[in-house]
Amino acid sequence: MARLIRTEKEVEGRYEEVWIVVEEDALEQWPAGPRRIVGQPAARIDGRERATGQAVYTADLALPGMLHTAVLRSPHPRARVTHLDLAPALALPGVHAAIGPGDIPQLVDECNYQGVAVAAVCADTLAEARAAVRAIDARFDVLEPLLDPDEAVARGHLLAEPRVRSRGDVERGFADADVVVEAEFRTQVVLHNSLETHQAIVEWVGDGVDVNISTQYIWGIRDGVAEGLGLPPDKVRVVCHYMGGGFGSKNSPDDYTFIAAELARRTQRAVKCALTRREEHTAAGNRNATIQRLRIGARSDGTLTAMSGEFVNAVGWGGWSSSTEGPMQMLYACPNVSTTTHGAKLNLPPMKAFRAPGFVEGTFGLEALLDELAAKLDIDPLELRRLNHADQDEVEGRAYSGKNLLECYRRAEAHWNRRHEVRSRSTDVVKRGVGMASQIWYGGGGPPSYAWVRVGSDGRAAVVTAMQDIGTGTRTAMAQIAAEELGIPLDHVTVSLGDSARGPYAAISAGSSTTPSMGPAVRAAAADARRQIDEIAEQRGTPDAPLAEIVALLEDAQILGKGARGPNPTGMQVLTFGVQVVEVAVDVETGEVTVERVAAVHDVGRVINPLGASSQIEGGIIQGIGHTLSEERLHDRVTGRLLTTTLESYRMPTIADVPEIVSELVDEPDPHLTNLGSKGLGEPPIVPIAAAIANAIRDATGADVRRLPISREEMLRALREAAAREKERVGAPARV
């Protein structure tokens, strides 16, 4: 029986209450441990299409008569368009239409960040469109930009009221402390840099639109486009069969989709609007910079007595102020915690969610400072973390639906115990050390999400749901779940996804939510199909007959199962946990930091595909190494204009930067979460890596790095500071 219930939904650490319709979710979880197919390593079922270049991405799609778009974007962080003449563009060969401010809300003449769209042109070829954009006569009155986050906070130039979160009595907590450490940490702006840039192809078909788009959220695009164009949602068809990376930046339709839609409406042609790499570096979102002023107090036995933090998210002109304070609030048992988070509104491009937004940045500060505390207390960092383990959620007093962080710590011991041997391999010039950091993050997913399963007389099944596979291996995981439940081989299952017209509503692929949101729906649908097959077997008096034998009777008839994602456990906190142990080598003369080994142990509930899961862990760690060591989006400090707009000046890791990575998952189903007990793994691995690297550097050299990226400049600065400190310490008695 269908029920309408009100439940909590969390995406990227932000909660909202939603109404959902659920069927009875009576399926028991499978017992823990690998099964016939679920829990066994599986190569991607769509691997060959992707590897051979047969998979058609939005970037590869050319529709008949399709026009190409180029966009005039503000070159200035703050400016007013004083004159705009599209006529010279329209006069050029191949040009079909041009639009500017006033035509659609996404095109503006008040420019508050570099890269905001001002005008757009579509033409037969991309080269013609670009030439036409260059021909637009646009004049800007350049205004003074606001670039300094602290100044924005002082002036109250914020995206929202400061977020103050407090428990206990922090003053007293610090008074009770034997040791207090404090420091300021800074993190930089980093860019998602999906290799397929943001793009869409829009075509008006009848009284609706078809939108081919590189997206993480087919249904979000459908609703966003419908709202923007004033169409009923079912008049918007959204298609994304393959997409080339998103990392949080492709959750919404954005300017390019609406530009393509308007140009398509005017020309009655299919219109593609694709960002160039340089546009991607300005107008496609980013992980915002932060400033974190942190303080931790503890008794001499290591018990935390108080923590406080002032966090400034340098958000840019739009987006939201993410939960940079989250780790300080949530990671440890500490009775007295107070945080204030400001979202500085600056004349810089808007942030977007980027793989555990806020928690990546906040964990760097918190976990690096915790190791400074461990050093002061002379307590082993792993021991300090165990000592302050939170047995229940401290923020709202909720029970955890499942938490195996202590088990993660136990499994990390073997890696942590290598530190003496690692240090002993230091030389005068190359110092080696080991550091660790803990991980806390969401990843429980939630309703609604739906799937259908179709079984034919050949004993093969198709999973049908209008979800997307952003490269995490979703198709494969869903096929495994269906095959497991139906009791058929994995290669007897196909997965049809990527089209809002061909399947039910499916969750966003963000917030580590795809598997925990969609997996239970797929299992429920497969179970529904299985139940029908069992009923037929029962009716025929052969209750134990194999599935193939029963469905073989179907001829053209089909068994159709449907399934829905049930609600999350009421009043419980659903989170993921983990710990990473990093080994580094630091050349103390050149400041070169080499990450040599990373051991990652995470607790994300049941593992569906251990092979794909290890790939997610490796990928998160490598992206985190880039964040920690080499990536930074720079803007000119005078004008605010962006400087690192190419993949040469913005340096993401190559294969040569990759350490040995050892990954392990606790693989214990979350007993309260859905019929699977699975949580998401897309984000957890990137959360602790920066702090673990910083802590390994301290272990190796005694230097405190406080700023990302840990460039040569930052590393040499920290080493000089440590040397001066050491000189003062050693030098002082000499004067006596």
Partner: protein, 145 residues
């Protein structure tokens, strides 16, 4: 008109001087396995072989490869490296993967049994934002298995 030989087939292609090999392959010949991710020679997604050498098709002018043999991912579909990449899960979103495989083919054709250092040196021009690198290395190490 320019004469172009791609994957063993001869084509007469259009395109003004200044057209890149990647544009010709993708837009004129519809060989979209070759991806373009930066269009300025920085990321390796567009890697193809020209007379067996890995080059960046996004910054190669099509008129300068007349008389050469161009090999794209479409010409390498039966290469054992494709299966090795799939078997080892050496791809995530897959957008960089054709370029990775083309570079890997060039490597193993000269060095059939490359060391880890040789792999890292030869593959450093192919950016994978998903970070499939450990398994790319594994795929190349075990491509003949």
């Amino acid at each position: 008109m320019t004469q172009l030989s791609v994957n063993g087939h001869d084509y007469a292609v259009h395109g003004d001087v200044g057209t890149t090999l990647a544009e010709t392959l993708r837009d004129e010949l519809a060989l979209t396995g070759t991806k373009v991710a930066c269009a300025e020679g920085h990321c390796g997604a567009c890697t193809v072989l020209v007379d067996g050498t890995p080059v960046l098709s996004c910054i190669t002018l099509v008129h300068t490869v007349e008389g050469s043999e161009v090999t794209t991912i479409e010409g390498l579909r039966d290469h054992p490296l494709v299966d090795a990449f799939v078997r080892t899960d050496a791809l995530q979103c897959g957008f960089c993967t054709p370029g990775q495989i083309v570079s890997a083919v060039a490597l193993v054709s000269r060095t059939p049994d490359p060391s880890s250092d040789e792999i890292k040196h030869a593959m450093a021009g192919n950016i994978c934002r998903c970070g499939a690198y450990p398994k790319i290395e594994e795929a190349i190490r075990t491509w003949r298995d």
